[in-house]
């Protein structure tokens, strides 16, 4: 993913703590305390409400002043004071500010007050500048970081910085909610004469800003609660829940477009994209070569899409505006690598060379992050929308949306090489994105595919010995979204890693087992089932007790819906819509008949269903089950049904059959 936006990185804390613990030693003598700015003193003196004992730290005050000059260039002054409440809050008190060549840090001052009342100011030479290294070859974005003195429970950390803002955007986003409670916070917008603004609120009720006169406006919030997901299972991503305010401004002389509407966001990106997407002769030649002899729309499109998936690898180089703007299509084609927006751009360029129109869709890989009621450039990923000719139908094209003007688009992610052309990866399904289509740009909801396009089908044929040892062969077929991660894994893992992975899964079902003949087929054949087969021998699968023999009809495979015991207040993320079937046949030792069999199970809770059945036919036990997830996200009030479903599945998975020797 490569569109940049996020201000803080969770990796910073651990990286930095190790880096900043060694300080230069100085001569001994009791030094005078640092002089603190008035706003820090005021923030530190304020009385706090009672917070739950799990609260690591609290943001005492956060004030941002965003000033746009008469040339449209913006500067931000940011003040923040944090009080550490628990030892774990030390990580929250690490100060880190991101910057790059377009967002230069003009000032950074950091103060702190230790629990025993001493005050400090960090010296310039105590800061570290660190790059975002992991997984990115080159990105000029860095962060300046320090862990101030006095970072202990009861201590207060405060900082202020002034930063130049990006010249090619005309909006700013105030992320006023995160995993810490915020006591007082405000955002002030200062515009030059002739400018105006609009606001959009994501995941939060709209609030009118105060007019401070002279083109200044302020929004103030108090006691914004934390989004605490630490002990919440099946939780959406925090950015799908956190409130944020985006302010769009426009005025005379601004080069870059207004992004206060989704149409505006699309047009803004079109400015960055349009010259980069032009096909070179080499691109045209390759596109013609790939589609030679093909007349069907899907065939032609798939040929180029598959080229993108197989021949152009994901690789990230970002400098300044490169966080938003793709490289030139010709450059990407030559190198055969690029990041998400590069790959989508080259795809679009190649398609245009054979007369197929397509464009980019700006999305976020964290479902729910983009709020359709809050236009903004917020997002972290780019994919493609390929226009489908009017009246054209093909069962291969499942990930299809219809725009307001009636045009249909196939939504396709050329970065994610483990999902078949015509489908869409799980984490993007159901989320929103901006269709970059000039004046027809708009927000679209990406499709949620039916469960039948994401399937797991396990079959096992086993034979149980009289001593309880079971031998058998297992076939697992995965398709669509349910095969994504496995295709990724199997395309990269060596034989040992593949076997280890199989064993890790089986270890949840059997205390002692051996496998052999593991085979994996169709890893790259995305339009076919990914097939895994293996032989298994399980010791003591059947347990004899006198004339009785007990065994678990659900031989292997665990659904395992995670559940919490605390009251549920946030939506439930089901992961993906899919269908699972198990079909296990166990040939029993001679002379055994059923004494007790698990009762059939059948449950339908709208968003999902589960059924299972165990039968004895002659000397064969047959177990089948089907689990279907139909919805991606559930409201919190569905939690009782969710828990009930989890309980029913859990009970069925451990139920036993009792056989009696005749």
């Amino acid at each position: 993913m490569s569109l940049r936006r996020v201000v803080s990185s969770p990796v910073v804390a651990s990286l930095v703590f190790a880096a900043v613990v060694s300080f230069v030693t100085l001569p001994q003598s009791r030094a005078a305390d640092a002089t603190l700015p008035d706003w820090v003193v005021a923030a530190a003196a304020a009385k706090l409400p009672n917070y739950p004992s799990e609260t690591n730290a609290v943001v005492l005050a956060e004030d941002i002043t965003y000033t746009v000059d008469s040339h449209g260039q913006a500067t931000e002054r940011h003040r923040k004071a944090i009080k550490i409440l628990r030892p774990q809050g030390r990580d929250d008190a690490i100060v880190h500010v991101n910057y790059d060549k377009d967002t230069k840090l003009k000032e950074l001052h950091v103060w702190s007050i230790s629990p025993d009342g001493h005050s400090f100011e960090v010296k310039k030479d105590e800061f570290l500048d660190v790059s975002f290294g992991e997984g990115i070859l080159y990105d000029d974005e860095k962060y300046r970081v320090v862990q101030p003195a006095g970072s202990d429970p009861g201590g207060i950390i405060a900082y202020e910085y002034v930063q130049q803002m990006r010249p090619y955007v005309t909006e700013t986003t105030w992320e006023f909610q995160d995993d810490l409670p915020h006591r007082d916070e405000s955002f002030t917008l200062v515009l030059p004469q002739g400018y105006s603004y609009t606001d959009s609120w994501a995941h939060y009720a709209r609030m009118q800003g105060a007019d401070l006169e002279k083109q200044s406006y302020r929004w103030q919030l108090t006691n914004v609660p934390a989004t605490d997901l630490e002990h919440v299972s099946a939780a959406p991503h925090a950015v799908a829940l956190n409130g944020r305010l985006t302010l769009h401004y426009t005025g005379p002389g601004l080069q870059w477009g207004d992004t206060s509407t989704w149409q505006g966001v699309g047009q803004w990106y079109q400015q960055l994209l349009q010259e980069r997407i032009q096909p070179t002769p080499e691109i045209q030649a390759k596109a013609q070569e790939l589609t030679a002899g093909k007349t069907d729309f899907a065939d032609k499109t798939a040929a180029i899409a598959n080229f993108m998936l197989r021949e152009v690898r994901y690789f990230d180089v970002e400098i300044g505006v490169g966080g938003y703007q793709p490289h030139y299509a010709g450059e990407i084609f030559h190198n055969r690598y690029g990041d998400c927006k590069d790959k989508a751009t080259l795809l679009s360029s190649m398609l245009s060379a054979v007369g197929i129109h397509s464009t980019l869709v700006l999305v976020d890989s964290r479902r729910g992050a983009i709020d359709p009621s809050a236009p903004s450039t917020y997002g972290n990923h780019a994919i493609a929308a390929i226009e489908i000719p009017q009246g054209y139908q093909s069962p291969r094209l499942q990930s299809v949306v219809q725009a307001e003007n009636g045009k249909r688009y196939l939504i396709f992610d050329p970065t994610w090489e483990n999902i078949s052309f015509g489908q869409l990866e799980d984490n993007l399904q159901g989320s929103y994105g901006v269709l970059v289509e000039g004046a027809a740009s708009q927000v679209i909801q990406l499709p949620t595919l039916a469960p039948k396009w994401s399937t797991v089908r396990r079959t096992g044929v086993f034979e149980l010995g009289a001593d309880g040892t079971m031998n058998g062969d297992v076939v697992v077929k995965r398709f669509g979204g349910a095969s994504e991660e496995w295709r990724y894994f199997y395309s990269r893992a060596d034989e040992r890693e593949q076997t280890d992975s199989l064993h890790r899964g089986l270890a949840g079902d059997f205390p002692a087992f051996q496998t052999s003949d593991l085979k994996v087929q169709n890893v790259k054949a995305l339009d076919q089932d990914l097939v895994t087969t293996y032989h298994i021998r399980v010791d003591h699968f059947g347990r004899t007790m006198g004339s009785l023999l007990m065994l678990r009809p659900r031989v292997l495979g665990h659904i395992g819906l995670p559940i919490d015991t605390r009251p549920r207040t946030i939506p439930i993320d089901m992961g993906h819509a899919y269908e699972l079937t198990d079909d296990f046949t166990i040939k029993l030792p001679p002379g055994y008949t059923a004494d007790d069999l698990p009762d059939p199970v059948k449950l339908d809770v709208d968003f999902a269903s589960y059924s299972s059945n165990t039968q004895i036919n002659g000397n064969t036990l047959h177990y089948t089950r089907t689990y279907t997830v139909r919805e991606l996200t559930l409201p919190a009030d569905k939690y009782p049904e969710y828990k009930h479903l989890a309980g029913v599945i859990g009970a069925d998975e451990v139920s036993n059959a009792v056989l009696k020797k005749q």
Binding site: L26, G150, S491, P511, L597
Partner: protein, 673 residues
């Protein structure tokens, strides 16, 4: 790193100027063979992402340069990542350091098509601080496909007048078909940049596969000029480093040759001399100074036995803040508090805090002040590495422990490990090796490992089953030794709330899904000489239906236990952190309408007198109790024993999963034993 004496500066710099252009272009690219172009796998590592066809490194002291060449065959999608190259280098605050130059690269497709790397490497800042700047040259080779050979070469260039002995790490994450290393060391006399001493000899610590060795040749001396020494190593078909569960820290023993310039001619001479400096440094810190002496005098009573004195001193040190578990303060902070930079055991006592090693030295200082013969030992952390005496580096000694002669017998202490009971050693230190002080010098230290009796876990459950198969009741966990220390360290890392949360999560991870767990009390959280006792209330579904029967796991602490050894083959020794003794007792009261049909039969099993497993059931009217003991007597087992150990574990782990079977509404007589 070492540098030349001033008088040698000119000659070294001149040699670099004269020879650099020739050497930089001396080696052409290796022409791929048809087999290399067409290969799709390497039989020794089936499914591997990539293999090194060649790894070459030439270290030429005259050039102050390392010339490195890598050829990699890409075999899978994952292997394409090896086309992304990041070459780190360092810039010191004075402008000196290592630079990376002369980068060239190319991609060769399986059909032989060559695509040269024509781009410019990016200069990437990794981290910049007051006195350091870590950078990297980064680039990606073009048009890489599965089946491509990617190759690149570059030079790591030291500043003039600086020399660095090479370290040849022959074993990597990839299989290596051929590795070839050359070092042409300087004949100059050098100054050690750390100690300032003169040195001209070279030495090396090899860990190499059988049949592979470093060969040294020398050209004849000519007049006053010494001949050129050349050290060379060729290794073929080097396997990648193994990755296995329960693995000792053998990465420190991967195939390698670590060279150094040295003033010493033997290993013994190195340890004796360096050990002397190390010991002197500690003795200077320890003192004991006036403050330690006075404090110790007040702490102990004249009539105290040796043990009573040492216990008082140990407790006093353990009371102090160990900043390795909390937070080191900056000099500015200490200055504000009127504290000084810690330079002695007296300072530690004054500040009432110190690092693990500083607290250890304080304990030794107090022991000496009380009249004991007390010594410091520096030990390799057994969780990180295996001490190698042939590797001439004090850097492998991670932590300090204390040795005190108590009434004629030496005892080991670990006051630097917070909450370690008196007279015991952390598993990181016991069973490892290192260097220790003795009267008049230093010797190798081999502190003993703790026995299984030290680390003891008791898990007791008293539960009542209802007719829906839900068990409710109390659970008590009692920890001593290492498990207790581990939990107490959790408290240091957080607070009581977080400790409770982690204890709760830990219990939930053991019990079936849907368990409701409440921590009701934590006893002796910081009383480290006492057992740590945790009490819970739990409610958990445990009964699974089988028609008119209900099955209940016999040991609820093992419901989610997974087999320890699933791999059929093993390459490395089997390694556990420490010997341990775990005892479980689960009592289930069951409804009157139920009858117990079966419970696990007794099994007692020994493995070579170092492991013991015992499980048995005791039925009674209305309830049944299952008791399970597992004793692990050692922490290291040879690879050859893997099949037997795997079988042993499989047997008892299967037995652990045997349920108690109840018949609903039945009248079957109670079984079990």
């Amino acid at each position: 790193m070492l540098r030349t004496p001033v008088c040698r500066l000119f000659s070294a710099a001149l040699a670099a100027l004269l020879l650099a252009p020739v050497a930089a272009h001396a080696d052409p690219w290796i022409t791929p063979t048809p087999e290399e172009l067409s290969m799709t796998s390497q039989p020794e590592v089936p499914g591997a992402a990539a293999v090194y066809l060649n790894r070459d490194e030439v270290t030429d002291d005259k050039l102050h340069a390392f010339i490195i060449y890598a050829r990699i065959k890409v075999l899978t999608e994952k292997g394409k990542e090896f086309a992304n190259v990041e070459l780190p280098y360092v810039k010191e605050s004075d402008g000196s350091g290592i630079s990376v130059t002369s980068i060239e690269g190319r991609t060769i497709h399986a059909d032989g098509t060559i695509i040269p790397f024509t781009g410019k490497p990016y200069d990437k800042l990794i981290e910049k601080g007051k006195d350091h700047k870590y950078m990297a040259k980064v680039f990606s080779l073009p048009d890489v496909q599965v089946g491509s050979i990617v190759e690149y070469r570059y030079q790591r260039q030291l500043d003039d007048h600086w020399f660095q002995a090479p370290s040849w790490y022959i074993q990597s994450d990839l299989f290596t078909r051929k590795a070839h290393y050359i070092w042409r060391p300087t004949n100059e006399q050098l100054i050690d940049s750390r100690h300032g001493g003169l040195t001209s000899a070279i030495a090396w610590a090899p860990v190499l596969p059988k049949g592979t060795e470093v060969k040294m040749t020398k050209t004849p001396d000519t007049g006053l000029q010494q001949g050129q020494r050349t050290l060379e190593l060729t290794a073929t078909n080097v396997p990648p480093m193994p990755e296995e569960d329960h693995m000792a820290p053998v990465h420190s023993l991967s195939y390698r040759v670590l060279f150094y310039y040295t003033a010493y001619t033997t290993t013994q001479e190195y340890w004796k001399s360096e050990g002397k400096d190390w010991s002197k440094m500690h003795d200077k810190f320890i003192g004991p100074g006036k403050h330690v002496k006075e404090f110790t005098q007040q702490l102990v009573a004249p009539g105290d036995t040796s043990e009573q004195k040492l216990r008082k001193m140990y407790a006093a040190v353990e009371e102090l803040e160990n900043t390795d578990y909390t937070r080191q303060r900056s000099a500015t902070e200490e200055k504000r508090e009127g504290l000084r930079r810690i330079e002695s055991a007296d300072d530690v006592l004054t500040d009432k805090r110190g690092s693990s090693d500083q607290l250890n030295d304080l304990f030794v200082a107090m022991a000496r002040a009380a009249g004991f013969k007390a010594y410091v030992a520096a030990i390799a952390d057994r969780g990180k590495r295996v001490f190698n005496i042939n590797f001439l580096s004090l850097g492998q000694l991670d932590d300090d422990i204390a040795i005190v002669n108590v009434d004629g017998k030496e005892q080991y202490f670990d006051p630097g490990t917070r909450y370690m009971p008196y007279g015991h050693l952390s598993w990181h230190h016991g069973g490892s090796s290192g260097l220790r002080q003795v009267d008049g010098g230093t010797e190798r230290a081999d502190p003993p490992s703790e026995s299984y009796a030290f680390s003891h876990v008791q898990r007791l459950a008293d539960l009542t089953l209802d007719e829906a198969g839900v068990a409710k009741g109390s659970v008590t966990l009692v920890f001593t030794g290492e498990p207790a220390v581990t939990w107490r360290h959790q408290l240091l890392a957080g607070d009581e709330t977080s400790l409770k949360e982690k204890l709760k999560e830990s219990m939930e991870e053991m019990l079936p899904e849907g368990a409701e767990v409440t921590v009701t009390s934590i006893a002796n959280a910081t009383a480290y000489e006492q057992p740590l006792t945790i009490s819970y209330r739990i409610s958990t579904p445990v009964g699974s239906a089988a028609g008119k029967r209900v099955l209940v796991p016999s040991d609820i602490f093992l419901v989610k236990e997974r087999p320890s050894f699933t791999q059929e083959k093993r390459e490395t020794m089997i390694y556990f952190e420490y010997p341990e003794y775990t005892q479980d007792a689960c009592r289930f009261h069951y409804p009157a309408a139920w009858a117990m049909e079966s419970a696990p039969a007794e099994l007692r099993s020994l493995y070579q007198k170092s492991m013991l497993y015992h499980i048995h059931s005791t039925p009674a009217t209305g309830f049944v109790t299952v008791q399970r003991d597992m004793l692990m007597g050692d922490f290291l087992y040879p690879t050859e024993e893997y099949p037997q150990i795997r079988t042993y574990f499989s047997q008892f782990e299967t037995k652990d999963q045997e349920p108690i079977i109840f018949k609903v509404g039945g009248s079957t007589a109670a079984g079990g034993n």
